[in-house]
Symmetry: C2
Subunit: 456 residues, 2 copies
């Protein structure tokens, strides 16, 4: 009992002094547990021990809700293995949302009363103290996310039953895809994933909507659930997230659709309506669902580059989506717009965005670009594969997107460890960096004299 108390005290102390570090350790431990579970003979169809690099890669991919795979999920893993992956995605998704929420709250606390009120508004906790405690927060997160995933399963289970006429299978696959979609997990429980079901719009469009909802992030979901269509009452964060998400989805769909319109190896032989629907599907999946109905290797190089950019952008903050996050992009573009108009304030929807937020956004982008460049350079060196494929898989891993050109499966163990490290860094890096930077911002009493270098 005494030891337990000591452990709890130690955890409390770390949580108070450095929540980011605690979460980095916890995520590592959770991945280790799932690596062990996936290594069990019972987890594979052949009842053999899965090699460490594949078990670790899959566990990392599932817990970070990325969806990249080194083995064919539907063929390699047993039902037990697939359930382990599903649970890993559920726990990973929940963990990421909880962690990011706690950090956002911690930032608001350190920024003082005014900042606190504002961050609470973003989290939609205007009611005093409702989300004051981590326990309450966790309860609300679990309730909300579980309900949404159950809602998706309720649509997917009959859809799969209608397709395959096997209730047991349909329940399993329905649940699996519901969890995988909402958590932006990207894992599939069939050998061919969604390929072969692309004619069933009930399945693919439900998955698409699930991914989109999941990618908006918890604070935005709370705002929408509470304020609904009263957009004026939405927080700035919710408005920015929704607007940028919609712009990216539709712009991505138009560009990708136009580029692939006549490509017979992707959507070229689909019907007119399906071409449009699956362009939107493809665009939403870069936000970072990671499902696909076409082989990403067959995209033309221009589409791959556009997909790279969309994956790098990612989804909403405090969500299971990865990437640099849409608000980061919004803040940077608003700063540039302010610059172009000669405004000294960065404005959006009648609000001023503090300068500090812009510097945090900048740091996140530079960290992301640096990690992707280093990861890409290492994998180029290891594989000697063309940049197209290596960059695609690197960004997909970093942005925990899970779209794949199949490079993951071809890599030697060293390459798999690099991608796993990228998933880990991509999952927690931007969140913890942004939180720790934002928490440090404070005013300066002493100023150096100003001098302006020439830029550009």
């Amino acid at each position: 009992m005494r030891t337990l108390q000591q452990v709890r005290d130690a955890v409390d102390e770390i949580a108070a002094s450095s929540p980011s570090r605690l979460f980095l350790v916890v995520l590592f431990l959770v991945i280790s547990v799932f690596t062990a579970l996936l290594s069990l003979p019972a987890a594979s169809v052949k009842h053999t021990v899965t090699p460490l690099h594949d078990a670790l890669f899959t566990a990392t991919s599932a817990v970070t809700v990325t969806g990249l795979t080194t083995v064919n999920s539907g063929e390699h893993w047993s039902l037990f293995g697939l359930i382990v992956i599903m649970v890993a995605m559920f726990i990973g998704g929940l963990g990421v949302i909880t962690l990011a929420s706690i950090l956002a709250m911690a930032v608001s606390r350190r920024l003082g009363v005014r900042g606190k009120l504002l961050a609470q508004q973003s989290m939609n906790t205007n009611e005093s103290g409702r989300l004051g405690e981590v326990g309450t927060l966790l309860r609300i997160i679990i309730t909300t996310t579980t309900l949404i995933q159950m809602g998706l399963a309720v649509i997917l289970i009959p859809a799969y039953w209608f397709e395959d006429r096997d209730l047991g299978d349909a329940v399993f696959h329905g649940l699996f895809y519901a969890v995988s979609a909402f958590n932006n997990g990207g894992f599939v429980s069939h050998a061919n994933g969604l390929v072969g079901y692309e004619h069933n719009l009930l399945i693919t469009m439900t998955v698409m909507v699930g991914v989109f909802i999941g990618s908006l992030g918890f604070p935005v979901l709370m705002v929408i659930l509470t304020c609904r269509h009263h957009v004026k009452r939405w927080s700035l964060h919710a408005k920015l997230t929704v607007v940028v998400s919609i712009i990216l989805c539709f712009a991505g769909a138009v560009v990708l659709g136009a580029l692939e319109w006549d490509n017979p190896r992707t959507i070229g032989e689909f019907s007119f309506g399906d071409k449009i629907l699956y362009s939107l599907f493809g665009s939403v999946m870069t936000r970072s669902g990671g499902f696909s109905v076409v082989d990403q290797n067959e995209l033309n190089p221009t589409s791959m580059l556009i997909t790279d950019a969309l994956m790098f952008a990612g989804g909403g903050s405090v969500s299971t989506a990865g990437g640099i996050k849409v608000t980061t992009i919004a803040v940077l573009f608003l700063a540039i717009a302010a610059e172009a108009k000669g405004h000294s304030d960065v404005r959006a929807f009648g609000r001023r965005i503090p300068e500090g937020a812009m510097r945090v956004a900048l740091s996140v982008v530079v960290l992301a670009a640096t990690l992707v460049t280093i990861g890409c350079a290492l994998l180029l060196w290891i594989t000697k594969e063309p940049l197209d494929r290596v960059l695609f898989e690197t960004i997909s891993a970093f942005a925990t997107c899970g779209l794949s050109v199949g490079l993951s499966a071809e890599l030697p163990p060293s390459g798999k460890y690099i991608l796993a490290a990228l998933m880990y860094a991509g999952r927690l890096g931007t969140i913890t960096l942004a939180a720790s930077l934002a928490a440090r911002q404070r005013d300066q009493r002493f100023h150096y004299p100003e001098e302006r270098p020439i830029i550009g």
Copy 2:
């Protein structure tokens, strides 16, 4: 006479109201003139009319001091053609430096007295009014740059004489490489360029030093010429430029050298000393000289990616180097460092960098990344070539670097026009954008209420 007066009035008016627009038009006209000259039969060895896309590409490449070529300069162009190219580089280099200087001065004027003094300090014009007029400025620029180029020629002419034992040839090539090096022009007057002369360190190292000096930029040269080793008296701009340039050169040399150390198709079979020297040479050339002694196609993919990053970075402001410029990078990294330390001010060398400078830097980077992405996507679409090669040539064009994997020569006319447009945009885009943004910055009286979105 009356018409001339009207034209002059119109030019004066445009120059006063929008110097950037004037320069965009002037550059276009200058390119047109050199396109016409290079189209003349006398300009080619075969005495035939060079196709418009090749003449326009070469003229753009020479005037923007890029150095990309669609035809082998030493084989296609006659002596007259090569002299036209040399003059185009000389005028182009001079024009860019003059333009950028005038814009930097205009910015300082609009930012008010305090800003003016500081910008003058950057231009090293503490003596009252010494550079107050464009005429005086132009005189100083011409004198300084011509003297440096003559200095380089004085070393290169005997070196080529010693190599080839032909005084006339040596004078021509010496002058050509002096102009090409200092202006970061990247053009060569031999069919194989510097390949075949890599054993003559007097030639290659003189070219390297010329490129490095040229890439620092006019304000830094003036500061160094005036204050010499009294570094404390250097402007912040000069300190940042020199420090970042040196870091990039040596870091680039170490990384590129390590990656290519055993590559027999590049530096792998050089002697130990030459491996080190030519790693440094290769690194300096990304800063944007564009000369090479090895085939860039033979670099391993990792080195190509690192080279991409170094070319994108570019050289100093108000120089003939391209890219986003080293002070832009310095400001962004200093902003991130300030963030990490929790400072609200961005500091360097005991000075505070205004927030506005950071937003300008950010805008420049986003503009550059956007143009490169669009250009790269278009060229991928046209060529269906691998991303490695297309990205390399695209960044080289945008950053007016001139290192080439030979894609320029393989492109259909449409692709050549795209690269020419990128050179034009890369040459003037970042400079004019930065100037017009900086000039617009002003203080705001009315502030919206503050609200902070969640970042990352």
